[in-house]
Symmetry: C2
Subunit: 514 residues, 2 copies
């Protein structure tokens, strides 16, 4: 058995079942080892941003890590933006990054680079294997590091000679630390605030937004009159008919400040105090209202569900029935195809149990409200602001959840970042329907240019915010990667095309021309 | 005048004429400033790998830096792989990376990251501006840093408030250090080796591969019998009829060792001693033969042309006529379209003064020999091994050299990494003909898997090296981004399609099905 084989077997024994990869020469022994190991599914991406984004989407749905297999520093570098998003999503993820053989590194061959340096800004744990005999144990440690609550990125650098050299066998799985128990004093303080008669907001992320977390939060809200909020961008939230609905903190600071203004207590559950996404001249960056007390019910590292359960007890809400969304039948829109009509179509047609990956930016403004009472679904956001996350995350979610339909809601600007994900959807026959909102501009930047006070854009500035001249043709782009695609220019066309795609096995793409 | 305007005017006064960009909210003041500054051309890329690769290609042809404008850490991260290549190419390049306002950074908003950490592995110079009053001087220092011989990457981090705050005006250009003069003792030692009667090899890169450098090296070779070599991958080399031809060090170590074995002296000109690209079990990584003495005529930082001139004098070759390539008319091939026939077509049809960007990997094996006597051209290589460099570099070369035809020779695997570059070619109407060699696999990895001794690939391993299921359709991909495209399946079709594309203004793409 060589080092690569011992590492791969260890990963499988630690529960890692999927390897998303774009390998190179230094990873060939690991690739060869895949054939000897039935427990690991191997999924090729044609660009590393697809690979890392897919591992993020997989972890959000599977609740455990996939591994990536990347080619030296540049291969890791190409995946960093989606690793930044994964870090913000606090998901478990194991990177295996091939490197030159230990004795080759000092020669500074063309592909040599500071791999640990590239990894540092996104990784909670980094290790470079020293020998083929230790690589299995390093792999077990990497999985445990990734699973350390709430979840983090573990990067294992694998020099080629540690892959091809001899190994004694796999290493035993290492148990990751448990989630810290909730803090009784914190629970009591929050309960006191909720009973104070003053207005309370509960701001949530992480496990609080699971179906169970929301149910507990819903009981507390029902009992105490607190208002439930979710962060503007969340890792994963259970939504739709029968679920407890929560309000999102708006993206724009002025609106967020207005929404939060009435509250005297802000209760944080697996998140931190809200701040604006960007700074704007002369406007505050911190969104907690003046005079509002902040209480931490649980940090992301703690056992959030246990904290919510304890709070339920403390406020006497154990048997309270939470308010839930009633299923509401919208009618399919007719006539002009707009962002609003497209949202209404989605609200009508979300399949039961769908996984929604949302990177629709400005075009998606109406989707949250018009789908709140749709069939039950999970919803995944762009967590770190690095666009190009949607299509890869959809790949990973679909790999994690065969049998569930994934709907990727994409802006055309964001979609272009990692469009290679479409090929992986075709290769793997994934049940992903991609909806591209083609407004042919970075519309959010046209808004932001004004909001930061940079004045009216002239022709050159306007050009930098526009995706036209020439227009992208997403039907051709998708077909070029083997994904069936159609273009919708009326509401009826979108209704029909979406219904057809959702019913057809395998991937499809619809270009919604706005 | 705000900080962004002062920076932009400073860059222009320092000779920076082109900004390749994919901006976001934190860069809006810089974008707005573009409209007030006629001296800066602004070119949009739909992914940052396009932006940084274009800046590399621009620098190789213009001999001075373009600037990039990138959106915080993730925007920089997406450009890192091509910055790695640019670092290996030793080109001057100025990154402007937007950041959150200085007072916003500590809040750890979603897009916050360790930007300097991402930049460190590729940058020779990094600075974060502290105030809007100092940003102009920082810009002048960045250009001087980039131009420090032989050329390096300077990364300037621009917090949003240093862009929107007030500035007194532009800063004066800073003079970069001059190239160090050649070392007389080194020239004498090399001359002695050349006169020793023992076999000498001259290994070159950098300025030695310019038309003038090659002419000087050719005189020396003609006079002394030394053999001229170029590195396996070079930043830029002048080739074709009338130029001094040099042999490339082969990619595979065994072949390289065989080629270099006869020499007793290895003379290094703007490069370092050769090593294998990867390590292979049981094979040497260093390629300098045992018992061969190494002599450094000039380091990359020194004035290479002056060193070659001094050596010419020292060996009495000032008036020697170098051997040059004679123009050789190949005949257009007929029949089956193969890598060999495609190379022959290229040898016939290279336009005079063309810029060849080569990332054709295994499919391009025959191109160097069959184009050595083609019309004079410049040839740019993948310098750092991070694939996805070809199409972006072609964009930058075309922006630097209007009126010259750029030919991008691309493998299908490498092309998929940064295919978004095609859109920029269309947007800017660049005279770039892209030839995609569609063998539908990572063919180099099929070779390397065997060479590293990883055994015969099974089905899963084979799948990770294959671009089929589904096949990519490059005609649709190009059309989807507004680039006219055709598919060639016979030698005659490729002959005709290439001739047509080379004669047509603007971009075109030909998928060569192998």
């Amino acid at each position: 058995m060589n080092g690569a084989e011992s590492l791969l077997q260890t990963l499988v024994e630690c529960g890692v079942e999927v390897c998303f990869t774009n390998p190179g020469t230094s990873e060939m022994h690991f690739v060869a080892a895949l054939d000897k190991q039935d427990g690991m599914r191997s999924v090729l991406g044609l660009f590393e941003g697809v690979v890392t984004g897919a591992a993020d989407g997989y972890a959000r749905m599977a609740g455990k890590p996939a591994c990536t297999l990347l080619h030296l520093g540049p291969g890791l570098a190409n995946g960093l933006a989606n690793l930044h998003n994964a870090r913000r999503a606090r998901v478990p993820l194991v990177n295996i990054v091939g490197d030159h053989a230990t004795y080759h590194r000092h020669l500074d061959a063309p592909l040599t680079s500071n791999i640990a340096g590239f990894a540092e800004p996104v990784s909670g744990w980094i290790r470079a294997s020293e020998s083929s005999q230790s690589v299995a144990a390093d792999g077990a440690a990497a999985v445990a590091a990734a699973m350390t609550p709430p979840g983090q990125i573990a990067t294992l650098i694998l020099p080629a000679d540690t892959a091809w050299g001899p190994a004694a066998g796999p290493a035993r799985p290492v148990v990751a630390p448990a989630r810290r128990a909730p803090d009784g004093a914190a629970v009591d303080a929050v309960a006191a605030a909720l009973r104070s008669g003053e207005r309370c907001a509960v701001l949530m992320n992480g496990a609080a937004l699971s179906e169970r977390g929301l149910e507990l939060a819903g009981r507390i809200a029902q009992k105490t009159g607190a208002q439930l909020f979710a962060d503007t961008f969340v890792t994963r939230i259970a939504r739709g008919a029968g679920r407890v609905d929560v309000q999102r903190v708006p993206y724009f600071g002025e609106q967020a400040a207005e929404v939060l203004a009435p509250y005297r207590h802000l209760i944080l559950v697996a998140t931190k105090a809200p701040v604006t996404f960007f700074a704007y001249p002369g406007k505050p960056s911190e969104l907690t209202p003046d005079g509002c007390a902040t209480h931490v019910l649980s940090t992301p590292e703690q056992d959030t569900l246990a904290a919510l359960e304890a709070l339920c007890e403390a406020v006497g809400a154990r048997n309270t029935t939470p308010a839930t969304q009633t299923a509401q039948k919208l009618t399919l829109p007719r006539g002009a195809l707009t962002a609003q009509s497209a949202a209404q179509t989605l609200g009508c047609l979300f399949p039961d149990g769908a996984i929604i990956v949302n990177e629709s930016a400005t075009s998606g403004f109406a989707i949250p409200s018009l789908t709140a009472a749709a069939a039950p679904h999970d919803w995944l956001d762009l967590t770190g602001g690095a666009i190009g996350q949607g299509l890869p995350t959809a790949v990973g979610a679909a790999v994690a959840c065969p049998g569930r339909r994934v709907l990727a809601l994409e802006g055309d600007g964001a979609g272009m970042y990692t469009l290679q994900a479409l090929w992986t959807m075709a290769r793997e026959g994934l049940d992903v329907t991609t909806v591209i909102f083609a407004n042919r501009k970075y519309a959010i930047l046209q808004v932001e240019l004004l909001r930061v006070g940079a004045g009216n854009p002239g022709r050159k500035a306007e050009d930098m915010l526009s995706l036209s001249r020439p227009d992208l043709d997403w039907v051709k782009l998708a077909n070029g990667m083997g994904v069936p695609a159609t273009r919708a220019t009326t509401a009826e066309e979108f209704n029909n095309q979406l219904a057809r795609s959702l019913a057809a096995p395998g991937p499809g793409l619809i270009e919604v021309v706005l």
